[in-house]
Symmetry: C2
Subunit: 349 residues, 2 copies
Amino acid sequence: MNNYCIIMAGGIGSRFWPLSKDNYPKQFLDILGTGKSFIRSTYERFSPVIPDANFLVVTNAAYKHLVLEYLPMLKPDQVLCEPARRNTAPCIAYACYRIQSQCSDANIVVTPADHLVTNELEFQRIIRLGFDFLGQNPQALMTIGIKPSRPETGYGYIQVESLSRDNVIPVLRFKEKPDYETAVKFVADGHYFWNSGIFLWTLKGIMNAFKRDLPDMVKLFDEGRDIFGTPEEQDFINKKFLDCQNISIDYGIMEKSPDTYTIPADFGWSDIGTWGSLFTHAKKDAHGNALRGKVVSVDNQNTIINIEEGTEAVVEGLEDYLVAFRDHSLLVCRLHDEQQIKVWIEGLK
Amino acid sequence: MNNYCIIMAGGIGSRFWPLSKDNYPKQFLDILGTGKSFIRSTYERFSPVIPDANFLVVTNAAYKHLVLEYLPMLKPDQVLCEPARRNTAPCIAYACYRIQSQCSDANIVVTPADHLVTNELEFQRIIRLGFDFLGQNPQALMTIGIKPSRPETGYGYIQVESLSRDNVIPVLRFKEKPDYETAVKFVADGHYFWNSGIFLWTLKGIMNAFKRDLPDMVKLFDEGRDIFGTPEEQDFINKKFLDCQNISIDYGIMEKSPDTYTIPADFGWSDIGTWGSLFTHAKKDAHGNALRGKVVSVDNQNTIINIEEGTEAVVEGLEDYLVAFRDHSLLVCRLHDEQQIKVWIEGLK
């Protein structure tokens, strides 16, 4: 099998404080109470189409032990450690150079580690469709486009010219996160999809794109071309990675490329990027509360209460609130003020 | 010195859950943030008038190590262990039999372990006044009466016939906790005082009262008369204490006795029996919040936030609430619903 999967797992997920923290980011949590961490669910979602030996997880060195704890089927050298965060383009370039040292005609799917997919069979059908397309179109750079269900302003959009059911469609252009009015138009128009951040391409296709669009980055990694996959790789990365341009794969390559395609998909996707989206997907009690942990809930409505194992809580008299406790940290706030969390926690430092 | 102090420290203080729990009751906490636990403050308040060797603490065996941790100047045999809670009369009887084995002409002051006194000098003046009075009136049974500052319905009251400044006054009668209208009348009348639960008497005086009013209890303790103060005492207590009538010293003796007196006092007293009374005595920020611990408070008003050392909290958007975390347990509730706490925590069991 030439199919590879790169799982990007370097995020710190500060939006879910205190559930996620620097020392335990969102990808390792089971925020939804499914019984599995996000990274484990991500692995299992790809497992039917990717052999275990062909997974690569890119993360921070501090999280390597957590990755191996949640994915014990991986060998330690399948966990690539970035010495610092440099956005998605350098992360993907590093993993592609490693794959190049093992398999020059690989197909690659790239995925974030912390998203939700509820229909895994449909998901796998879409991924297989993408790999099939790459067989005839090895230069294609593909993204999974999600059919939008609401005028979401938190995602980038992909515009296509014409629709064709269950097919791979050329991208007309990528659109940055829109304002609300624009998002309403996008959804009504029908030619726009959410950019899921899941990419498919051949190794040759993406390497050509890096050479064309990010030549400085290629020059940098090419210096170590012969040491990827050897014991010297980590030292090389530790020295050179910091010199990489901090740029996303979307800005760095996808938006510039003439060969981009999208596969419109509808497999129950969410990036669970906010407490609000968690609330949307969580099970609720009769009063609309999403409860997690040993909780006595009295006279609450539309409130998230999420406390870690080994703790207990009595919570009374809240409406549209968020109560979360993990790792010695407590958050009580109005749900609609959650975008302030990052600001407030600065006050604790 | 013949002055003895009995500190009653057997309570479990479930009203302050989760700060106080079975495994760590209120008397060992520093709820007000003074830097000292209630039991330590109690000891220090009496220390100028009672020699260290003359303190006795009556508590549950489970708390003996905590008592000695907070009062390391006491010897282990100064901590008397009840095998079960039997209210204040058996507790005081036990301690009096122990004192009888050491000093037959003792003066005794009895105090709860978990009250607040802000004017310690005035407190000591009152206690000395009481001991002086006992010198001429060895049969007197005295309580400290607190000048009421509000129509409190949570305390018992003491009625006197006539007032005399800074003197010991005969009690007309004891009044159980009144309803609000009655409490308003008591305060307006001026002849009523709060019953503080602090008692003074001679050993001979209280032993006579026990014989007269609780003869069954006396009979029970008399069986072990010769083994108080010996290594066999604990075994005897473990066997016999459970047979004692469960009765308070107020009902069992004080209300029946012809020789009761009160010393009206005003030394900044509170039993800190509720979160509301804690709130009254706590320091507040500019928005009326009583904050304790590493807390970022955003847009809160008249709210208690009390979290244990080693934890941190961000709390936003609450008014008249109580947020407390200790020992893996969280409470968030409306302050005026605090009397329900005991009911709610049943749901955690």
